[in-house]
C-alpha cells in the first residue's frame, strides 16, 4: 500500500540528498523565507517543503502536472486533506507512545510492544477507510483517486478480522512450541516457532504420547534458570516478534509516507493562504520539455520579498522564449537581484509542482539550477576573492549537465573591469554556445556591451531603471546596457571629495 501523492509510481524520499549546492541556492534565492511561510511553524512541514523544493529539479513536466492536479484537489478540499494528515500523524504517534526501551531488546518485549502499536494502527486504518468511503467522490486527481481506491480495496472487514485472530494467538496461552537444530559448539540454532494445533486442549499430551520425551523443571529459587528459560523462549519467538515488528514498521512507514507527502501539500496550502492575504497573485506554471528554451511570464515577483515585507510587490515581465542568455544591467538597488531571485524561485517552485508567484508563467524544465553570486558586498580587489569565485565556478562546471540553468549575480567583478569582463565573456560564451540557459546580473559594462554589440539572436538585455529624481521603480525594461552603475560613481565622488576621512576611519 502506497501513498503515491508526489509521484505516480514511487514514494517521495524525504531522506534523499539535497543537491550539492543547496547552501548556495537557499542563500542566494532566500528560500528559507519561503519554507518558513509554507511551514507556518511546523518543523516537519519545513523539512519536507525544503526537500521537495530543492530536489524537484529532476522532475519532468509529467511529474509536475501530476502534483499540480493533486494540489488543485487539496485547494478544493482543504479540511478533508488536513484531516487525513492528522490521522496519519496520530497513527505515527502510536509508535512514540510505545517507547522502544530497554525491555524491547528482548523478543517478548518487542512482541508485546508490536501488539500495542498494531492495535492503535488498526484504529487509524479504520478511520482512513471511513474517509475513503465518505469523500472519495470529491477528488479528481489521479493521485487521490488511486489512494482512495487502494484504501477501500485493501482494508476490507475480513482483513481486519484476520488481524484480530493473530493478536489472540500471539498470547501463547497454551505454551510455546518450537524446534531447533545443533549449531557450532552444539548450541541450539535455527529456532522456529510453530503455531499450536487448533485443538483447544490436550495437544501437548497428544504429541508426547507418541515419542520419547525428557522434561526438566526449573527449581523455584533458581533465578538464573528462570532467566535462561525465558531467554530460550525468546529465541523461539524471536522470528515471530521480528515479523510482527517489521509488519508494524511497514504500516507505520505507510503512515509516514502519507504524512510526509501530504506535508508538502499542506505547506502549499499555508503559503497560498498567506499570499492571498497579501493580495499577491499566484498561478499554476506551464512547464515544457527540457530541450526547449522557453521563459515567458507576467507579473513575476520575488515571493520571499513579498513575504518579508508583508505586502504585494512589483512584478516583472519577461519574454525570453528561444533565448539562452538574459543580461541584466542598470541602477543599483533597482530590482536586478530581486528579479534574478524571482527567476530562480519560480523555476524551483514549478519543478516541485507548486504554483508560482506570478500572473502567468511558462518555462522549460531544466536538469540543474546553479547560482553564482558574489559572496560579499564589499569590493576588495584581491586576487584571493577572484580565486574563490573562479573556484566556485569550477565546482559548478564539474556538476553541469546539458539543460542546466545558471544565475550569475555580479560575478567576476572582484578584479578590474577589463579582466573581469574578459573572464565573464569567455565563460558565458562557452556556456551559451552549449545552449545552457544563463541569466547574468552585472555592472561589467565591457562584458555586457560586447554581447550587445554582437547582437546574438539568442540573447535579451534588461535594464533596471531609475527615474531622474533618483527614485527607483524596481521595474526592468528591455534595453541596451548603460555605461555605468550609479553607485560606483557615487563612491568615487565621495572618495575624491574626502580623501582624509577615508584614511581617518580607524581610531
Amino acid at each position: 500500500m502506497k501513498a503515491f501523492l508526489m509521484y505516480r509510481d514511487r514514494d517521495f524520499d524525504a531522506k534523499q540528498p539535497l543537491p550539492w549546492n543547496e547552501q548556495s541556492l537557499r542563500q542566494d534565492l532566500a528560500l528559507d523565507t519561503l519554507f518558513a511561510a509554507m511551514a507556518a511553524g511546523d518543523e516537519f512541514i519545513f523539512e519536507v517543503s525544503k526537500r521537495a523544493v530543492l530536489t524537484g529539479i529532476h522532475n519532468r513536466p509529467d511529474d509536475i502536472f501530476y502534483r499540480q492536479d493533486v494540489l488543485k484537489d487539496c485547494r478544493s478540499n482543504p479540511a478533508i486533506v488536513r484531516n487525513i494528515y492528522r490521522i496519519a500523524a496520530e497513527g505515527l504517534e502510536s509508535e512514540k507512545k510505545n517507547y522502544l526501551g530497554f525491555l524491547c531488546r528482548y523478543p517478548s518485549g518487542i512482541l508485546s510492544r508490536s501488539i500495542e502499536i498494531l492495535q492503535l494502527c488498526v484504529e487509524a486504518l479504520r478511520q482512513l477507510r471511513n474517509i475513503a468511503d465518505e469523500y472519495a467522490g470529491r477528488f479528481m486527481s489521479d493521485g487521490f483517486v488511486t489512494l482512495f481506491t487502494t484504501l477501500k480495496r485493501e482494508l476490507s472487514d475480513d482483513y481486519f478480522a484476520t488481524i484480530e485472530g493473530h493478536l489472540t494467538t500471539l498470547k501463547f496461552s497454551d505454551g510455546v512450541l518450537m524446534s531447533a537444530g545443533l549449531g557450532r559448539g552444539n548450541k541450539g540454532v535455527n529456532y522456529v516457532l510453530h503455531r499450536p494445533s487448533n485443538l483447544k486442549q490436550g495437544w501437548l499430551e497428544r504429541v508426547f504420547g507418541r515419542s520419547s520425551v525428557y522434561a526438566y523443571t526449573i527449581a523455584d529459587r533458581d533465578e538464573a534458570g528462570a532467566r535462561a528459560l525465558s531467554e530460550l523462549r525468546d529465541r523461539g519467538i524471536d522470528l515471530v516478534a521480528n515479523a510482527l515488528a517489521q509488519s508494524c514498521d511497514h504500516i507505520l512507514s505507510f503512515f509516514n509516507a502519507l504524512r510526509t507527502e501530504l506535508a508538502f501539500y499542506i505547506g502549499c496550502l499555508n503559503l497560498d493562504a498567506r499570499l492571498s492575504q497579501l493580495g499577491a497573485p499566484v498561478c499554476f506554471p506551464v512547464p515544457s520539455e527540457a530541450g526547449e528554451r522557453r521563459h515567458t511570464c507576467q507579473g513575476l515577483y520575488d515571493v520571499c520579498l513579498a513575504l518579508t515585507m508583508k505586502q504585494k510587490v512589483v512584478g516583472n515581465e519577461l519574454n525570453a522564449d528561444d533565448k539562452t542568455l538574459v543580461i541584466i544591467t542598470g541602477a543599483n538597488q533597482g530590482g536586478k537581484s530581486t528579479f534574478l531571485r524571482s527567476i530562480g524561485q519560480a523555476q524551483l517552485m514549478m519543478h516541485s509542482g507548486m504554483f508560482v508567484a506570478a500572473e502567468s508563467f511558462s518555462a522549460n524544465v531544466c536538469d540543474n539550477l546553479f547560482t553564482h553570486y558574489r559572496r560579499e558586498e564589499d569590493a576588495t580587489m584581491s586576487s584571493g576573492k577572484l580565486d574563490e569565485e573562479l573556484s566556485r565556478m569550477n565546482d559548478i562546471v564539474n556538476h553541469i549537465s546539458p539543460d542546466s540553468m545558471l544565475l550569475f549575480n555580479e560575478s567576476f567583478a572582484a578584479t578590474n573591469e577589463r579582466e573581469g569582463s574578459e573572464i565573464a565573456r569567455q565563460i558565458v560564451t562557452a556556456l551559451i554556445e552549449q545552449n545552457l540557459k544563463v541569466c547574468y546580473v552585472t555592472h561589467l559594462y565591457d562584458f555586457a556591451h560586447s554581447f550587445f554589440e554582437r547582437k546574438p539572436g539568442n540573447a535579451i538585455f534588461l535594464r533596471a531603471v531609475r527615474q531622474d529624481d533618483g527614485k527607483r521603480t524596481y521595474q526592468l525594461i528591455e534595453g541596451e546596457p548603460l555605461q555605468t552603475s550609479y553607485g560606483k560613481d557615487l563612491y568615487i565622488k565621495m572618495a575624491r571629495k574626502n580623501p582624509k576621512d577615508n584614511l581617518a576611519v580607524s581610531p
Partner: protein, 530 residues
Amino acid sequence: MDNQQKNAGHLSKAFHSILSGHPGIAVETEAMPPYFVDLNLDQIIDSITEDKKEYDLKPFFYTPLTDRDSIIYRQEIFRDLEAIDLLDRLEAFAWNMRTMRDCLARADKLYYPGQKEAWFLEAVITYCHAVSDLARDLDTARLNSRGLLAFRDYLKAYGWSDRFTTLFAEAKQIAAGLAAIRYSIIIKGSTIKVRPYESEPDYSADIGQTFEKFRQGQVKDYASKLPDYAEMNHVEAKVLEFVAMLNPDIFTRLKDFCLKSREFRDETVVVFDREIQFYIVCLDHMEKFSGSGLPFCYPGLSNPGKDIFCHDGFDLALAGKLLDKKAAVVCNDFYLDGKERIIVVSGPNQGGKTTFARTFGQLHYLARLGCPVPGRDARLFVSDRLFTHFERQENIGNLSGKLQDDLVRITEILDQATPDSIIILNEIFTSTALSDAIFLSRTVMEKIHGLDALCVCVTFIDELSVFSEKTVSMVSTVVPENPAARTFKIIRKPSDGLSYALSLSEKYRLTYKSLKERLNHESVSHVPRS
C-alpha cells in the same frame, strides 16, 4: 614426519622455509632499522601488515637480505604467486588456519564437555580442509620457484599419509551425524520438554503474509539481539544433555575421537602458515596500487656494478595517502651510469625533492627484502648498509645545538659507511649560515666522493650539483604556464631558479577553450539523475 620428508626428498631439495632456501640465514629481527622513520618505511610496513597483526610479520620486514641468491629465492616465489593466481587459495588456507586456532581457543575455555568436544571437532575439520585444499591447489599449479616446489612435495606427502587421511574421514562422519539432528522444545510455565522434531509450519511466515500489503521497502531488523555467547547456561546444557540422550551413538563417537586426536597439527604446516603471509601481505598491498595504474616490478640486481636505474618509481608511503584521497601519484625516473654515484636534488620547495629521496631509499630497501618495488622497471644495488640523515623538527629551537647534532650524526654515518653502502642526505646544515652550509656540505661530499658510495643529496645549495664527475644534478620542476603549480617531477637538468606568474582562470580551466572542452566532455558523459 621424518618419513614424509624422505618421500619429498627425491623430487627436489628438501623444504626448509618459504622465506629462505638456506638454513642459517636470518629471516627475522625484533628491532626496527634506524633509517625506517626517515624513509617512511615504518608507514609502509604498518600499512602492509596492518590487517594481519596476529602473524607478527614486522620482524620479517626489519630484516633485509644481503646476498643475491636469497633475494632471488623470494622473487621467484612472488612471481609464482602473481603468475598463477594462487593468492586466493593461500588466503583461504590462512583463513582456515585462523579459524582452527579460534576453535581450539574456544574448546579450551568452555565448560560443558558436549560443547568443548564440538569445538575441537570443528578445529580438526577446519585444519584438514586447510591442508587438503592447499595440497590440491598446489598440485594443479604450474610452479617455478624453488621454494613453492619444495613445499608442494612436502605437503603432498603429508596429505597422503595415513595419519592425515584417517583423521579427516572420521571427523567428517561425526560432524554429519550431529548436523542431521533436529529436536522440538515445549516451554510452559517453568517446565521445559525435549522430544524429536515433527514437521510443523513456521508461524512467522504466516504473520509476514498477513501484512505483506504494507511492505514499504527496507525496515529495521528486530531479530536476534539476544546475547549469542559461545558459552551455554545450565538450561541449554540440560537441553543438550537431553538431545544426547535422544541420540546416544553419535555423542559417544565424538567423545572418543577428541580423546585420541589431541596432537593433530603438523609443525612445518604451522610455520608455513605464518611465513607465507609475508608474500600475501606484500601482494595485497601492491594490488591496491596496481589497480590504480601504478606499476611494480622485480628489480634486477646490479652488484657488483653500480649502474642502477628506475623508471616510474614512486614513494609507496605517499602514494598510499594520495590513493586514499583519490589524488594522482607522480612517478619519477633516475639512473646512474659509469662513474656517476651521487644524485644532487635541488629546485623549488614543495616540489617533491624529499619524496624523491625517500623513493630512492625505499626502492633499495624493498629490493633487499626480495619484494616487488614501486616502479615500472628497475635495476638496483644490493647494499651492505643504508644510512639516512633527514632534518629533525624537534630541535629547531636550538640552532647551535642542532648544527652540532647534524655534525655528530653525519660523522657517525661517514665512519660506518663502506663503498657498498647507500647514503641519503636530506637538507643537511639548514640551520647554519649559507657560507658555513656550503663549506660543511662540500666537506661531506668530498668524503662520499672518496668512498665511492651511492648517495642521494637533497639540498638548496646549487653548487653541490656540479661537485665532481660523480655527481648528477636533478631538479624539481613546475608547470611552464603556471609556475605556482608543481609537477612533482624530478628531472635530470642543471639547477636553475624559476620565476612565475599566475593565470587564475586557466588554473580552474575556465578560459573559453578549456571550458568548451570540459562542457563537451561533461555534457556527453553526463548521466541524468532521475
